[in-house]
């Protein structure tokens, strides 16, 4: 019995992954830790993301048509499999709440200063819950238009700021300690590239499974190029001051000034984030709801979406007591914290499956 009957095509998968990657990274520039060498960190992060994606694709091609919860149950047996799946779902849930936190912090800091937090989160979560209830097909189809829109906006912003880019801001090359740049690259690898692990819940809905690797790598490539452009823009325009700002990408948008007519366009970057954040949270919430439904052998995941979505929103509000905590967590703790979920669990699953010679022949009909 299948819980999800929706099918998405290759292009939709590409845009969905790209949108997921853009997510909050549109705003929280991933290579910021490496200061003026952020662009190197991004390239490193993309490389790491490619490796991750190969791993996930290998796992998927070994168990065609099954998502991670089903795979875990098969590989580790019902009991341990459920534990592993639960940990994985917990990670998705927590990650979703982190994105909600970013969402909320950003809106609260820059736009709706006096609006209560619960209001901001509630309104966002309700939209996302509605989207997820309609199923993965709807989200994936939304992503096509949204990501196209983002690509246009993003290039537009870059074009408007290109006159202000100072190329000297990138020099001296390779002056920072290597360890710092590597850490920044790993940060970019774990946020956002490694988070594509959530797609282990979505991949089985692809209508042509043989296209999986090709389409996902295209998405990584697209997101990588855009982050690279973004880092060039942010570093080139802001220079040393990039490390001052929490949302340095947003800040660079504030500097748009064309003949004193086109100003105050940073809101476009804000809107990009809001749209992409929707996709990211929606995919995570979908993964969570579907995973739990399968874990407990429910007939449908849709009744779980509303409570899970609201809980995600609430956790998002209490994740951190202050923004600086969030910043420290994401720069120092998260790259280590996420590693087991992004690499170790999928890798062990694959290795155990190889050792146990799973899936057994004649056993792949379910």
């Amino acid at each position: 019995m299948k819980l999800e009957r929706g099918k998405i095509n290759g292009l939709e998968l590409t845009t969905l992954i790209a949108g997921f990657l853009f997510g909050s990274a549109v705003l929280l520039f991933p290579g910021q830790w490496a200061e003026h060498e952020g662009w190197i960190a991004i390239l490193g992060g993309v490389a790491e993301g490619f490796v991750f994606m190969l791993l996930y694709a290998a796992l998927m091609s070994r168990f065609p048509g099954k998502n991670f919860v089903e795979i875990a149950k098969e590989v580790y047996g019902p009991f341990f499999g459920s534990l592993v799946a639960l940990a994985f779902i917990g990670y998705l849930f927590h990650l979703g709440s982190l994105v909600v936190t970013d969402y909320h912090d950003f809106i609260k800091l820059t736009m709706l200063v006096q609006t209560p937090s619960s209001m901001i989160v509630l309104v966002n979560c309700l939209v996302i819950i509605y989207g997820v209830k309609k199923g993965i097909e709807v989200i994936a189809r939304c992503s096509q238009g949204m990501v196209t829109l983002l690509c246009v906006f993003y290039l537009m912003i870059f074009g408007m700021l290109s006159m202000q880019i100072k190329w000297t801001n990138f020099q001296p090359f390779f002056s920072l300690p290597v360890t710092k740049v590597l850490w920044a690259a790993h940060m970019a690898g774990s946020f956002p590239f490694g988070e594509t692990v959530a797609f282990l819940m979505v991949f089985p809905t692809l209508n042509k499974p043989e296209e999986l690797l090709n389409r996902s790598l295209k998405a990584l490539f697209l997101a990588g190029i855009y982050f690279f452009i973004g880092s060039i823009r942010t570093i080139g325009v802001l220079g040393d001051t990039a490390r001052l700002f929490l949302y340095s990408g947003f800040q660079s948008g504030r500097l748009i000034n064309i003949a004193n007519v086109f100003t105050r366009l940073e809101i476009i970057i804000g809107v990009n984030f809001l749209i992409m954040g929707f996709l990211k949270i929606a995919v995570l919430l979908y993964g969570c709801a579907l995973g739990i439904a399968q874990l407990f052998n429910l007939k449908s995941y849709s009744p779980l979406v509303l409570p899970l979505g609201l809980l995600m929103g609430m956790l998002g509000m209490i994740n951190f007591s202050m923004v600086s905590e969030n910043f420290e967590f994401s720069s120092l703790v998260y790259p280590v914290f996420a590693f087991p979920f992004q690499v170790i669990i999928p890798l062990t699953t694959l290795v155990v499956a190889l050792i146990r010679k799973l899936p057994k022949k004649g056993d792949d009909d379910n």
Binding site: T110, L112, M119, Q171, P172, L238, R254
Partner: protein, 380 residues
Amino acid sequence: MVLAVLVCLLAGGCWDRQELDELALAFAAGLDYDMEQKQVKLITQVIRPGQMKSAESGGGSTGQGGQKASFILESQGKTVFEAVRKASFQISRRVNWTHNMVIIFGKGAVKAGVDKFLDFFVRDPEPRPHQYILVADGDLKDILNFKPNLEKASAQTINGMMNNTGVTSEAYPVTLQEFVNDLMSNTKSATAPLIKVVGEGEEQKLQLVGTAVFRKGKQIGRIEPKETRGLLWVIGKVKSGIISLPSSDGSEISIEIVQASSKIHPVLDGDGMHVHIHVKAICNLGEQLGGENAKPKKMIEFQQWAEKEIQKEIVHTIQCSRRMKADIFGIGEAFNRKYHKRWRTMEPKWEELYPKVKFSVNVKAKIRLIGETLIPLPAH
């Protein structure tokens, strides 16, 4: 139940509404510091939106009903933000900073170090990074109280002047973003234009009277308008301007700068630090009082004169900066970019090293157009 949810959702957007008639827009901020009482003094120029309409009633600084289009609020506080809120406390509306155009520092602020006062303007979401930074030469309040002739508020005048400095390139407009970038540098000296009210009574006008030079946020000196152009030549920010000089046959000529660019090449070798500055200027002949026809040979002579004049301006500015031990050109950063490893040992003592840097200035001027006449108007 449904109604309650609907009200919550639909009215949620009204929490942060900002209606124009409920706002007091700040156009300029004057910051000063009282050393003895350790108080930040803030002078906010607030405009009356109703009086900002286009001037049917005769223009000038008064609008309909004879009310002034702007007024100032004075407030004090231990920090800038405290003073900002105290300014709002004096009037019926909250002061909104999103349209602030200029930040002007007073005497006390530049003595205490301006870096202390800028955090609010960078941190708060309301102020924009495109505000201009200036330093008051003279009384801060006079500048903010100044009644402009063309615009409604003095902030608009200053903003316009800053946008318009290209006509002579004798002032260097600095935005908050650029200023903060300079302040964050360990070696570069930040600069900001000096502004002053000159004249008496009806004849009063605002004037840019040079550039203030900072080190670690404190003003350590100033350079004159002509020397400011020398600075702009080196950093390649000259937009336009006039070089007037006597030609060999005694006639006066004006050369209009059309375009300029520069390159700074630092060289570090055995016998010390050298900096080669290459400046390229494209000019037009703007005016010639008598003298000979503008033949190509003559033009080449004019070019050489212009080159010498530009070189003189630059060398003069370099001397000034050496005297102040202030690296206003960002030479240190140029060294950092090229000789990063050796720079690390130079950086801590850069203040002492900078006057020892040997400059060589190389100017190439090119006169392209000569205007719409072929020969100068015959003079008798």
